[in-house]
């Protein structure tokens, strides 16, 4: 019997789309955690960080597999988010003259904005530290050097810090609402999940911003 594939069925329904966002969000979150742990080696000096970077590229197959998964997750996440944001406008074509939120966090209401900021940042970040196109002094393989080059400029620091605050906001809501979207949250677990999300958001935001700030204050040089 011909019928649309399950993935297509999921994609065509708002709940399915949200579930896909939750799963892809989780994949991206796992990557971000790994990325942070790797990045923190910057505090252990240039040799350690550069060796770590080299290690990541040992197997091109593995590297490109991971990149493919990440790219797919990213595309699905972004496309679903953008579509849903359009849907939202269609669902309420006339806005309220006065609207007062009574329970929601700014993070929850601004997911599209924090998401777009992160999207913009990812593009910039790849151009900066992976491809080196916008890096002021890019040297392939010398990650430590490149990082210092970026954070040597106020603009680089500012972009990075703003993006990491956006990431914190995004995770603050995303890290518990994904359980809601996947139908895993219960009345009892919800408060715990929300606390977990706040904690994770803070940890990642602080962890990532620690690097440019360390460069600025001269701890890392």
């Amino acid at each position: 019997m011909p019928r649309p594939s399950r993935a297509a069925a999921l994609w065509s329904s708002p709940i399915g789309k949200k579930a896909l966002m939750a799963v892809t969000g989780l994949v991206l979150f796992a990557y971000v955690v790994g990325h942070l742990l790797g990045n923190l080696q910057v505090f252990q000096g240039a040799a350690k960080l550069d060796r770590y970077a080299e290690l990541l590229r040992i197997s091109p197959t593995l590297l490109w597999s991971v990149r493919a998964v990440l790219l797919l997750a990213f595309l699905v996440h972004v496309a679903a988010g953008l579509q849903l944001s359009v849907l939202r406008r269609e669902a309420r074509p006339v806005d309220y003259a006065t609207y007062r939120p009574v329970a929601s966090t700014p993070a929850a209401r601004g997911m599209i904005w924090s998401g777009l900021l992160i999207l913009g940042f990812v593009v910039y970040h790849l151009l900066d530290l992976t491809l080196g196109v916008v890096n002021p002094d890019f040297r392939p393989g010398q990650v430590y050097h490149n990082v210092l080059a970026t954070f040597g400029r106020g603009l680089g620091v500012a972009i990075y810090v703003v993006a990491m605050i956006a990431l914190g906001f995004h995770l603050w809501h995303g890290m518990w609402s994904l359980f809601q979207s996947l139908g895993l949250a219960t009345r009892r677990s919800l408060p715990g999940l929300q606390r977990f999300a706040v904690t994770v958001a803070w940890l990642l935001a602080i962890g990532f911003t620690a690097i440019p700030l360390a460069v600025v204050v001269g701890v890392v040089r």
Binding site: A108, W176, Q180, L184
Partner: protein, 285 residues
């Protein structure tokens, strides 16, 4: 006390609306909010003006007929209460209150603060029931239901269908409403056989009606007069995902065709639409 109101006046679904300012002196703190509007309307009628149209019926918080935003909050500032159950003791002398109808593509404004919530009826029609014919039901005690399940089903079934969840949701989503009915029936043994089809049909109907999606913002549960919890949405999502991967995934849905919500009213004689806008009447007094 004296209350200043800025009320959305709109003659019919096609007309443009605007806020009109009224003042009600002599407001007693024991009045309900709607009784305060009654006082205003009586004065308007005596002056020959069209009173402010607003929906209400039981005025004891159970029928779900009433509802509008007061200063941007669905059902006003009192939590877990409908606007008919909100009394003027919660306001202060000289307060300026802006009253605005529920706004959503699926809830067209019919007049002033009155909206059409027929979409909610169609969501229920799409599957919010147990298919049991009258007669022939087994003895009520033949199928025991654990008390905790029955109690939680009751909590979800307490939804009054007022639409405040849709109104308060930045996405105009009906997820709390739909999730409440799905949760009620999926917690009970009677609701099991139709569980996969129900969740697929009801959520599809909600989508087709033009309601938005849920982003777990939580405004819905916060303003819900019946205390429906966000959990019902998680349960709906779980049922949906389970259904999408179940054997029932290919069964045809039982959804109703969605006609434009406005179509029903288009039979109106065209002349009637062009008469004077009541909001053009004197705004201040």
């Amino acid at each position: 006390m004296r209350i200043v109101l800025e009320i959305w006046r709109q003659r019919d679904p096609w007309a443009d609306g605007r806020f009109v300012r009224y003042e009600v002196g002599d407001v007693n703190e024991h009045m309900s909010f709607l009784e305060m509007l009654d006082v205003l309307n009586q004065a308007l009628v005596r002056r020959g003006e069209m009173p402010v149209a607003f929906d209400s019926d039981c005025r004891e918080g159970i029928c779900g007929t009433c509802g509008f935003l007061v200063n941007g909050e669905a059902h006003g500032p009192l939590r877990n209460a409908t606007i008919c159950q909100t009394h003027m003791r919660h306001f202060h002398d000289g307060d300026v209150l802006r009253l605005e109808p529920w706004r959503a593509a699926a809830f067209p404004v019919l007049r002033d603060l009155v909206v059409d919530r027929g979409a909610l009826d169609r969501i229920v029609a799409a599957g919010g029931y147990v298919s049991v014919r009258t007669g022939g039901a087994p003895d009520a005690n033949a199928l025991p239901v654990p008390k905790t399940d029955a109690d939680r089903a009751m909590e979800a079934a307490a939804c009054i269908g007022c639409g405040a969840c849709v109104a308060a949701c930045p996405n105009a989503s009906a997820a709390l409403f739909t999730g409440a009915k799905i949760t009620h029936l999926s917690l009970l043994p009677q609701g099991q056989p139709e569980r996969p089809l129900r969740v697929r049909s009801m959520t599809e109907q909600a989508r087709a009606e033009g309601f938005g999606h849920c982003t777990s913002i939580g405004e819905c549960a916060a303003v819900c007069p019946a205390g429906i919890q966000l959990e019902v949405i998680a349960r709906m999502n779980r049922d949906f995902l389970r259904a999408a991967f179940s054997r029932a995934a290919g069964e045809p849905l039982t959804v109703l065709p969605v006609t434009s919500p406005m179509r029903r009213y288009e039979a109106q004689p065209p002349g009637a639409r062009e008469t004077a806008d009541p909001a053009e009447e004197p705004a201040e007094r």
